[in-house]
């Protein structure tokens, strides 16, 4: 295990920002997606692991701070020189002498930005700049905290495609904090779901999906016809405009599929939808809490 968290509590004044009671472990080579709404404790968790905030409890790891790399929500640099100079100092190398770095710069199509100063970069270019240096660190554990926040849809999509492509087939251990479910679906194989500083769910994405959603789900528009067609099936919690229908097994799935096709209903099938899984995990978490 790279890291184990036991009985962690982070407080800001009187307010508990994060409370982890059951042990959580991050294994080597795992890609952990941390998800939750604002104030869930995602960034607090990253800061606690990086030693940037005080906490009670234990974070057990053999990793030294310099063996962890982190892309924080805000990453600022001096504005007095071209970013090539900053990059060369941080990485203790020279761009023209380092083939690996050149490859990464080309991969992110960043070459023409090197002579610019940091404030002259666009939002996406600023993120790429830090990502390139983070990737060059080759840390044992890398954190990406809201890498795409503040970026427009197209830039966000392109950046994520690049990151997914870069990490494909590699064995880097990642912790990816994001608001965007689709980003985690592409990058993470484990999910840590936080809400109001508590751990709602933690485990492999497919296992969590089976626990909270079943074998597969069908997502349809939420209207009277669709509700009527699917009334004999189990429906899950979902955003108001959608109807999420759960199937326990293949037989049930075939049956629902036949109905939907016969009635020419548009639908999306998924066995890894993190958004629906999160909504239902959260509901069950609080329902169990109320029962207790």
């Amino acid at each position: 295990m790279l890291l184990t968290i036991k009985q962690l509590q982070v407080k800001y004044g009187d307010q508990t920002a994060l409370q982890i009671n059951s042990p959580i472990s991050f294994g080597k080579g795992e890609r952990i997606g941390v998800i939750g709404s604002n104030g869930a404790g995602k960034t607090t968790l990253v800061k606690a692991i990086l030693g940037l905030t005080n906490y009670d409890g234990r974070i057990i790891t053999d990793l030294q701070p310099e063996q962890m790399a982190a892309h924080m929500q805000s990453n600022a640099y001096v504005t007095t020189m071209p970013i090539r100079r900053i990059m060369e100092m941080v990485l203790d190398t020279r761009v023209k002498e380092n083939k690996e770095l050149q490859e990464l710069i080309d991969f992110f199509e960043f070459g023409n930005c090197l002579s610019k100063r940091f404030p002259a970069l666009s939002g996406g270019q600023k993120q790429k700049f830090t990502i390139i240096m983070i990737m060059m660190q080759k840390a044992e554990l890398t954190f990406y905290d809201e890498v795409t926040s503040g970026l427009d849809f197209e830039t966000r999509q392109k950046l994520m495609e690049k990151m997914v492509e870069w990490y494909r087939g590699k064995e880097d251990s990642l912790v990816i904090v994001s608001h965007y479910y689709e980003e985690l679906e592409q990058l993470a194989d484990k999910i840590l779901l936080l809400d109001r500083g508590r751990v709602v769910a933690f485990g492999r994405t497919d296992e969590l999906f089976r626990t909270y959603c079943g074998d597969a789900i069908f997502i349809l528009d939420n209207n009277r016809v669709n509700c009527s067609l699917t009334k004999e099936f189990r429906t899950l919690r979902s955003p108001n405009h959608l109807l999420a229908v759960s199937c326990r097994d293949r037989e049930e799935e075939k049956r629902l599929l036949t109905i939907l096709v016969n009635h020419r209903v548009n639908f999306k099938r998924s066995n890894s939808d993190i958004e629906i899984m999160s909504i239902n995990a959260r509901e069950r978490f609080y329902a169990q809490g109320e029962n207790r």
Partner: protein, 254 residues
């Protein structure tokens, strides 16, 4: 990634960083030479011939103090407070740089710039002013004093930036302190003896007062009682140390 130690690349980076700050160059290099020229042409010609050499030396010594005060205090304070405000030191820490290594690189880079500023200042004085040739020991004493004062001022500016964490506040405070120090230590044309008694006592705790007022006495050689000057240096250093400790306490993990 290994933890980064202070190396020449970090020093070069800090030199480039300083190079991008116009205020450091103007106040640290142009301003002292310009002021020396103005004071020597205005005050210098008003004094009798017999006292002129000593007055000109005093002006040069006073203006040489502007170099560490501008580069290490005003310039550094302005540059570093902007970094702190934008959390650049945190970003560097996450890249494996320790604060003490970054501070060491900053001090070395600023000392290199200060050395260049002294050289330019000296050449400028040699060309434009006719002052007596100093004794080698006096030059060494002056340079050591100026470097020590400069390091202490840099630590104070660093601490103020870490305490207030805003460029505007830090710059306002360093500028106010800068002009206050200039008035108290006789660098603004008012000698320390002309100040009220209470302010004279305050001035006596500042090492700049001794450089500005007394160092002219042994410019061409001779003896001087360094004890009050050393005591003021220790006092000034202690203030810097206390401020640095307070800044670290304030910025401890919460």
């Amino acid at each position: 990634m290994k933890q980064k130690r202070c190396n020449w690349k970090m020093v070069l980076y800090e030199l480039r960083n300083i190079n991008g700050n116009f205020m450091t160059h103007f106040f640290g290099i142009v301003f002292p030479s310009m002021m020396t020229l103005i004071f020597s042409k205005t005050i210098g010609i008003q004094v009798p011939e017999a006292a002129r050499d000593k007055v000109l030396v005093s002006i040069v010594l006073s203006m040489s103090l502007v170099i560490p005060m501008s580069i290490m205090f005003i310039g550094y304070g302005a540059l570093y407070s902007q970094e702190v405000e934008h959390e650049v030191p945190l970003r560097m820490r996450l890249f494996g740089f320790r604060e003490r290594n970054l501070l060491a690189a900053k001090i070395i880079a600023h000392m290199i710039l200060m050395t260049a500023a002294f050289a330019i200042f000296a050449v400028f004085q040699m060309i434009t002013m006719d002052i007596p040739k100093p004794a080698a020991s006096s030059v060494i004493c002056l340079l050591v004093s100026l470097y020590l004062i400069g390091i202490i001022l840099l630590v104070i500016a660093h601490s103020l930036a870490d305490i207030f964490r805003k460029f505007g506040i830090t710059f306002g405070i360093t500028m106010s302190v800068y002009f206050l120090l200039m008035v108290l230590t006789g660098m603004m044309g008012i000698s320390t003896e002309q100040l009220p008694k209470a302010l004279q006592k305050v001035a006596a705790t500042l090492p700049m007062t001794y450089v500005s007022n007394d160092f002219a006495d042994f410019w061409t050689g001779g003896s001087y009682n360094f004890m009050p000057f050393i005591q003021s240096l220790l006092f000034f250093g202690a203030i810097a140390g206390i401020l640095l400790m307070y800044a670290q306490y304030r910025n401890r993990r919460t």
